[in-house]
């Protein structure tokens, strides 16, 4: 049977723009919450007042050319950066054009990317430009009268001298563009597919990569999740806020995001990020001399749907149980074998209640449980991939990060409140997405 291992990972996130920086910040349990931009309050008075913005990337340092910065959407750019980090981390060589040229002709490579909204901001920006470009002279008059008005300043900042139509708006918006740009840049000619399952997208993409390698359809897969909401005016933020899914003010900046806590009120809205892994057959990794680089082994995947609600998790746990049965069954392990669970852990009232109840009931032996979202916030389609990386690093380093802001737990689960060392052999990471998507991965410490 083909064994599937993780040999590399790359990260562009609010918590760091490299794997090491991201992992260190997870262990430290840093706070990434910042006040939302003041001008968003001109459009709407939100319940939540914080977000986790994505710092600007040093694209040139990460090998992205000037013209790529002009032509590609931000999610495509951060996806490329994370992919390059991942293949470098995995020891995959590229030629002078940046392509995995030698391997592309000799071995089979594929791309599997999950995303929630793709580059949805691209048509939004185009539409907004159409609507307000004609008003630019009036806006300039207004700015002369009100030079410090943030709303006028913001509107003008997005307008060029003349109305523009971006001829690449379609090429940027289509959700498959993120995976396609990785294929184009790296010269990968195998299967290139996109998984769109809201907050479970990254998990599904990695699961499909795992299955493709296991079935012998590909040898090496670039897999993960990419999301950048490009939320210049807070429009996506406000949508989540009106659904009452975002974290409300609590006891000061950084305390709002409280997964599994009695005083939780929602998730920390992340501007986005990219988390990309290199999965490959063990045989391929060994043949490339990368055995010592193996972070973890993927041994199981499960995927189900609630068929219950477009946004709310089903309280009966039935679909989550079936998802877990699939994943553990494929891994040939029992719930009692799981040492660590990287939970979905959004911090919303119902999700945490249902999830913690399910974990209590199914895993009475009290494995370690934490929420990476307690630190990073919710990166939507990238979340599952970030959490797969966190889980792999936990198995590799035999450490787990704390669940931040957990003062009064809603269930008697084994939550680490600080970074701790642990003997971890098997771990579960799962995600539940809008639309009723449930997906889980079982990862195992790599042993010969």
């Amino acid at each position: 049977m083909t064994r599937v291992v993780i040999t590399g990972a790359g990260v562009i996130s609010s918590a760091g723009q490299s794997l090491d920086e991201f992992w260190e910040n997870c262990l430290r349990g840093v706070s990434l919450a910042q006040d939302i931009p003041e001008h968003w309050l001109h459009y709407y008075q939100p319940r939540s007042k914080v977000w986790a913005p994505l710092p600007s990337c040093d694209y040139a340092r990460l090998g992205i050319t000037r013209t790529e910065r002009i032509l590609l959407s931000t999610p495509a750019l951060i996806g490329l950066c994370a992919s390059y980090q991942a293949i470098q981390n995995a020891g995959l060589e590229t030629d002078s054009a940046g392509k995995i040229a030698r391997l592309a002709t000799e071995k089979r490579l594929s791309v599997h990317i999950g995303t929630g909204l793709g580059a949805a901001h691209s048509p939004f920006d185009n539409y907004a430009t159409h609507l307000i470009s004609g008003l630019k002279p009036k806006l300039l008059e207004l700015q002369a009268t009100y030079p410090d008005d943030p709303l006028v300043r913001d509107l003008l900042a997005g307008l060029k001298a003349q109305p523009r139509v971006n001829p690449l708006v379609i090429c940027q918006t289509m959700p498959n563009a993120l995976a396609a740009n990785i294929s184009l840049r790296l010269g990968i000619r195998g299967a290139v597919e996109t998984s769109c399952a809201a907050c479970a997208s990254g998990t599904v993409a990695i699961g499909k990569a795992f299955r493709a390698i296991k079935a012998g359809e590909t040898d090496i897969a670039i897999a993960g999740g990419i999301e950048h909401l490009g939320d210049r005016t807070g429009s996506v933020f406000m949508g989540f806020d009106r659904l009452q899914t975002l974290a409300s003010p609590y006891q000061g900046l950084g305390t709002e995001n409280r997964p599994f806590d009695q005083n939780r009120s929602g998730f920390l809205f992340s501007e986005g990020g990219a988390a990309v892994l290199v999965l490959e057959s063990l045989e391929s990794a060994v043949n490339r001399g990368q055995k010592s680089q193996i972070l973890a082994e993927v041994v199981g995947f499960g995927q189900t749907s609630d068929a219950h609600s477009i946004a709310a998790i089903s309280a009966d746990n039935n679909s989550i149980s079936r998802m877990l049965d699939q994943a553990l069954g494929e891994a040939c392990v029992k719930p009692a074998d799981i040492d660590y669970i990287n939970a979905h852990g959004t911090g919303t009232e119902i999700n945490d209640r249902v999830e913690s109840g399910f974990i209590s009931q199914t895993f009475p032996h009290r494995p370690l449980v934490n929420s990476t979202k307690s630190i990073l916030g919710h990166t939507i389609g990238a979340a599952g991939a970030f959490e797969a990386i966190t889980t792999a690093m936990s198995l590799h380093r035999q450490m787990v990060h704390p669940s931040r802001n957990l003062m009064d737990p809603i269930a008697d689960l084994n939550f680490p409140l600080s970074a701790i060392s642990a003997d971890l052999r098997l771990a579960l990471t799962h995600n539940f997405g809008f639309g009723g998507h449930n997906a889980a991965l079982v990862l195992q410490r790599y042993e010969v």
């Binding site: 050319t65 000037r66 013209t67 002009i70 032509l71 003349q162 523009r164 971006n166 001829p167 690449l168």
Partner: protein, 91 residues
């Protein structure tokens, strides 16, 4: 702001073309045809247009580009015509 110089525009166009086109020239030559000589496909022509927009704030509509006839000299003259002494580019 000073009027944009011909040599500056030619240098910038050369930089963009080197990043975008398969057969990029070492030096600017007005007679070089973007598709035939530099090997650009239709997407690379669009990429050049967007790059010119970003560099010089000029709006080049694909429909205005003479198919199969575009030379680097045509591109240079388009940029220069868009920016006179009274209407300099945002350099």
């Amino acid at each position: 702001m000073a009027e944009v110089s011909v040599s500056f525009v030619e240098t910038k166009i050369c930089e963009l073309v080197r990043e975008l086109m398969p057969n990029a020239p070492a030096e600017f030559s007005a007679s070089l045809r973007v598709k035939e000589d530099l090997g650009a496909d239709s997407m690379q022509v669009i990429a050049l247009m967007l790059s010119l927009d970003a560099e010089f704030d000029v709006d080049l509509d694909p429909a205005d580009v003479p198919d199969n006839e575009v030379t680097l000299g045509w591109v240079r003259d388009f940029v220069l015509s868009a920016h006179t002494k009274d209407n300099p580019p945002p350099l």
